[in-house]
Amino acid sequence: MYLKGISLQNYRNLQPVSLGLGEGFWLILGANGQGKSNFLEAISVLCLGKARRAERDRDLIRFGEDFFRLEGKFSREERGDLESVVRLGPDGKELLIFGTPVGTLAKFIGEASCVTFSSDDVDIVLGEPTARRQFMNEALSQLSQGYIFDLARYRRCRDQKNKALKDIRERLAPVDSVEVWDQNLAQYGGRVCARRARFVRQISELSAKIYARLSAEAEGLQVSYEPNVSAPEEAPQWPEAMLQAIVEKRPEEIRRGMSLVGPQRDDLSITLNGVDGRGFASRGQARTIALALRLAQAQLMRKQTGEWPILLLDDVFAELDETRRALLSEMVSEAGQVFATAASEGDVPALEQRQMGLITLRRGQIEVEKTAEAAA
């Protein structure tokens, strides 16, 4: 999959522009603070329908304006071309596919797909469990519409149940009023966990292989799912296992006035040669693990959708030594389209430079200096 063209209006510090793009490897050059990351972010918003992190969508609007609009034209192998628009204005957000509004985020996301690699990815290894859950959510929501739907329902149900538990603790409602939420909580929560379990199994195998190639020391990377409920043998048993855990915890939930069972308490375990990497890996190790996880995510998306997502590499090369740079650029060379930012040309592997497209960024002004030649 690749982006054929993009138009931006009032997006962050970027000047309004319409660009023609194409397959291949694109280098985005510019000094600090010129808008390189913002440009990559705009592409990811066109794929995800929203900002990647906990950021509010409003923050994406250029300071002093009241709307932004992004339009992308994509070429896809399996599903044909795509035109999509994300617009956020005073009266809310509009998501359009071929000019037609799609009602929900679940129907928009996954039409075009991308994987962002950035220096923040070390948080997946060194940060709090939230960062690891976010990694799973971002990957899975692009892989399955059902996941987004189940997660949204799960959250709604959990919020209702938490309020019910609070009311019980304050003696505003009878103790048995909590039970009506549990069936759905276990149903949707169980489905979220079943999908996460399968995803982590797949990603674990892929990332171990990639990590072995990237790390000279041949350390063994192992990633596994750490659910908050003891995992059942078979995926369809998840809802039942979760319901059982909920019932067991009910007295404690009532005492503490909050829901204690479910995917909001999941984590990923990450070990190197059997030693816990979470919080303990060196910065260099953490960077390589994160890179392996992102590459594994991209490979998995390729496997399941039959098509490479667009790869967005934000200052990734600059952080790597010569050998790993070469390895990374080899691994991403299969993808249909790669955008890589750098502050100087010396930060990108030389072997790519001949066919590479070049985009420069100066104070939000985007210029295509040279188009990319698609790899033969």
């Binding site: 919020d159 209702q160 759905n184």
Partner: protein, 209 residues
Amino acid sequence: MPSYFTRPLSRLVAELEKLPGVGPKSAQRLAFFILRMNDEEAQNLAQAIVEAKSHVQTCRVCFNYTDQDICEICRDERRDTGCICVVADARDLVAFERTNEYKGRYHVLQGVISPMDGIGPERLRIRELQQRIAQAQQDNGSGAHPVSEIIIATNPTIEGDATAMYLAGILKPLGIKVTRIAHGMPVGGDLDYADQATLIQSLEWRREI
């Protein structure tokens, strides 16, 4: 709010703005539209509002809207008193009536359970449903239970499901068959918008809970 309108006009805008789904812009548009109406049209609109408000009440039995003490459906002898379809909202009842398929009675809950909105079961017409069932049994004397089935037709939302669960919990111990309509309908959809074919199907495929 600084007003560029003369007082009666800004009052009209302010009142219209209180309606659901009507923002400041649409309120202005509606107000200007009303001003362009001829006198008779405007009178009709005003009277319709006043009359609806003073004559429409909820049915003493099922809580559907009616202009009488007991609604037409509850008074219709040809309709099966043994089957009660429980809906969240009077609009859902209208959706079922449009299908012309259902020949039983209704009970309108006037909402769904939602702790986040401060709505517990006691805020809904559930006690009235229990009383209605008990009354029917009393009137019937010693025979089989006069209410043979209760169909729960709340929307397939998280709150609709929880309400159905709650109702099943209190009705099943009474030995009444409790069913829930099947949801062949669009995910997250409202009964209100479901097309008739889907509704007919979902009635047919209702299952016991």
